[in-house]
């Protein structure tokens, strides 16, 4: 991991510690709240309960109830309140218990946060963060298992990052908080316990820089968020067949590291896009469109996409497993873009 590096932009940190993704998010918020009093955290259960997923553990005690605030279950209202606070220059971190519930708040995200700077001719930036888990966990059924990237990335005006590792969680969330635009930080319930090395000291990863999480020459698995781990598993499976897959983690969907995408396309000429969400007008559709537009002649095969099955998420364990994009589907897609026989392994 980390092979491609950060193009020299991120601050190089000496000391690292192995912590969880959850702790990394917590560390990023504390890092930024320590340096800037205008940063505050607001959402359901974030204070007294330490967060529904314990991401804000200890923060109420540390910062008090002025800056760590439990809100009523009023997604549209508290998201809008945060946008309003940002209009006057504060830097709210608006936690959605999960992004599923943020569909209720989407009007404030799109019509207020995303469009504000433009329609005020630059007078009113919205320096805030929307964060929380997106996508499926385990058997949470149709209304609690939706990947929400498409809804946040379609409208210009919002940025979107999807950290996959603890280090990225810290660095990207910190960058999102410092950013002068509204940034959605989409996490994963199933990622919170993932452990990894994270720089101890101040750590910020610039938005818009993808990372090759695993180098390879034969086929590129481009992906983001939680699916990075599925891609890495698939790459390990392919390794056994002597196929070297490169795993490119976009990390940021807006801004999008187009150069990194074109680089990996040029390197392997074969691409699979893997994402957790539905296919129709998903993120992968845009990536395919971009690649065919800008690297049409570099492709040796159509870009294949692996997505959630185009159905609402079922509850039953077996159906859920079928519906989720899995290692097997990725491996088969990779074999297919390599014009190998499919369905053997």
């Amino acid at each position: 991991m980390g092979v491609r590096g950060l193009r020299g932009v991120a601050r190089k940190a000496a000391a690292v510690a192995e912590i969880t993704y959850r702790e990394a998010l917590n560390a990023a918020m504390c890092q930024e709240m320590d340096r800037d009093d205008s940063v505050f955290l607001l959402g359901e259960e974030v204070a007294e309960y330490d967060g529904a997923y314990k991401v804000s553990r200890g923060m109420l005690a540390r910062y008090g109830d002025r800056r760590v605030v439990d809100s009523p279950i009023s997604e549209l209202g508290f998201a809008g309140l945060c946008v309003g606070a940002a209009m006057s220059g504060l830097r709210p971190i608006c936690e959605f218990m999960t992004f599923n519930f943020s569909i209720l708040a989407l009007d404030q995200v799109i019509n207020s946060a995303a469009k504000m700077l433009y329609m005020t001719n630059g007078q009113v930036p919205i320096p805030m963060v929307f964060r929380g888990p997106t996508g499926a966990a385990l058997q949470l059924s149709a209304q609690h298992s939706q990947a929400c990237e498409s809804y946040y990335v379609h409208a210009p005006g919002v940025k979107l990052v999807t950290p996959a590792t603890p280090a990225d969680a810290k660095g990207l969330l910190a960058a999102a908080i410092r950013d002068d635009d509204p940034v959605a930080v989409m996490e994963g319930e199933l990622l919170y316990n993932v452990r990894g090395e994270v720089p101890d000291e101040e750590y910020v990863i610039p938005l818009g820089v993808a990372e090759v999480k695993r180098p390879g020459n034969d086929v590129s698995i481009v992906t983001h968020g939680k699916m990075v781990h599925v891609a890495l598993q698939a790459a390990r499976a392919l390794e056994r067949e002597e196929i070297e897959a490169e795993v490119l983690d976009l990390r940021s969907l807006r801004p999008l590291d187009v150069d990194a995408i074109l680089e990996t396309v040029a390197k392997t000429n074969r691409v699979v896009y893997l994402e957790e969400g539905w296919p129709f007008a998903g993120v992968g559709a845009q990536i395919v469109s971009l690649i065919q537009d800008e690297a049409f002649d570099e492709l040796d095969a159509p870009v294949l996409r692996v997505t959630q099955a185009d159905v609402p998420m079922p509850y039953a364990k077996n159906l859920e497993q079928l519906a989720k994009p899995g290692v097997k589907a990725v491996v088969e897609a990779c074999r297919k873009v390599l014009y190998m026989e499919v369905g053997i392994s």
Binding site: L104, Q139, H144, L304, V311, Y315, A316, L322
Partner: protein, 376 residues
């Protein structure tokens, strides 16, 4: 302070046995001995059923979120049992016992929790999405407040068709802070819909006491739309039953929408992953409610006090509840997982003969499900 926390029982304090016993002995509050035993049996079934579910969850037979109603059974029985079979019920995600109360077989509910084909939603819905429209149970909704406009719509349909059913729409106390509450109550009032909105006021939305997210009492919330507010002690199943019996008939008769603040208490954590007590409520608080406000104990004591229930009868009723719960679990366990070939079923009602409905490279015909994900 949330009503349930400070003063769990606001009114309807149980009168002395002498006051409530009918002159014709062996009746209480006008209920016959059989009816009383029936309500006790209902509540015991809900309790044992959920204890079984709790066990099954612990050993991984049930997954996902699982929100138990334990402690709130008086409300389930007292508000749903007086309804007509063709009345409609819609609710949130803490709905196992409400589903059973409205008439879904415990087997079908348990199998749904297990995610099996025998479940009332075929295993696709799970704990939060129990449905059986043949008994008038319209779910089982997971977005806090999401069922409130839907409930208004069910009531709208009744009025549209000139029917005399009513719709009972349940929600948690935290749901009244969702905008959907305002919009739905207002429309219901403007159109005089036959709907009763019931807040199951257990004092907390997850870890947040109602008093921390509201400066007013619950009763104040419906007046803005001209909808009458009522408070009922949901731990007293007899009071609750009589109350809903009467209110349902009034709404059936055209009284228009109603708002009920039903005081209750949740004996378990918010869901299986939330400890029973800890950060947001003390062990003592929970203990006090379990001791003093258990709807089953309250009814049992009254029946025994009135000489309408013996220890043997109680044990028999309880044994039946346990047997039914075990049976439900056995049924669920034996019920198969859904056929993988049905993955794409029921996304659309009409499989249109033209064009492609599914955009993952599969035409959407049943049986064409992928092995792990779709393809854009």
């Amino acid at each position: 302070m949330a009503p349930a926390t400070q003063a769990p029982v606001k009114n309807g304090e149980a009168p002395a046995a002498g006051d409530e016993r009918d002159p014709a002995a062996s009746r209480l509050h006008g209920f016959s001995r059989d009816e009383l035993h029936g309500l006790l049996a209902d509540m015991l079934l809900y309790r044992r059923f959920e204890e079984k579910a709790e066990e099954a969850y612990a050993i991984g037979k049930i997954g996902g979120f699982c929100h138990l109603h334990i402690g709130q059974e008086g409300l389930a029985a007292g508000s749903i049992k007086p309804l007509r079979a063709d009345d409609l019920v819609i609710t949130a995600y803490r709905e196992h016992t409400q589903a059973i109360a409205k008439g879904i077989a415990p087997r079908a509910v348990m199998a749904e929790l297990y995610g099996r084909v025998g479940g009332c939603s075929g295993g696709r819905g799970g704990s939060m999405h129990l449905f059986d429209t043949t008994v008038g149970f319209y779910g089982g909704h997971g977005i806090v407040g999401g069922q409130i406009p839907l409930g208004a719509g069910l009531a709208w349909a009744i009025r549209y068709r000139g029917g005399d059913q009513i719709c009972v729409c349940f929600m948690g106390d935290a749901a009244v802070n969702q905008g959907a509450f305002l919009e739905s109550l207002n429309m219901s009032a403007v159109w005089q819909l036959p709907v009763i909105y019931v807040v199951e006021n257990n004092g907390y939305g997850m870890g947040t006491a109602f008093s921390r997210v509201s400066v007013t009492e619950m009763e104040a919330r419906s007046g803005a739309y001209g909808i009458p507010a009522h408070t009922v002690n949901g731990q007293d199943v007899l009071e609750t039953y009589r109350f809903f019996e009467e209110l349902a008939e009034r709404v059936r008769g055209g009284a228009g929408p109603q708002f009920v603040n039903a005081i209750t208490y949740r004996f378990r954590g918010h869901s299986m992953s939330d400890p029973v007590s800890g950060t947001y409520r003390s062990k003592e608080e929970v203990e006090a409610h379990v001791q003093g406000e258990d709807p089953i104990t309250i009814l049992r004591d009254r029946l025994m006090g009135a000489g309408l229930l013996t220890q043997e009868e109680l044990e028999a009723v309880d044994a039946e509840a346990r047997t039914a719960s075990d049976d439900a679990a056995e049924f669920a366990d034996a019920s198969p997982l859904p056929d993988p070939s049905t993955l794409y079923d029921h996304v659309y009602a009409e499989i249109n003969p033209h064009g492609r409905l599914f955009l993952d490279g599969r035409p959407g015909a049943p049986g064409s499900g992928p092995e792990g994900g779709g393809r854009g």
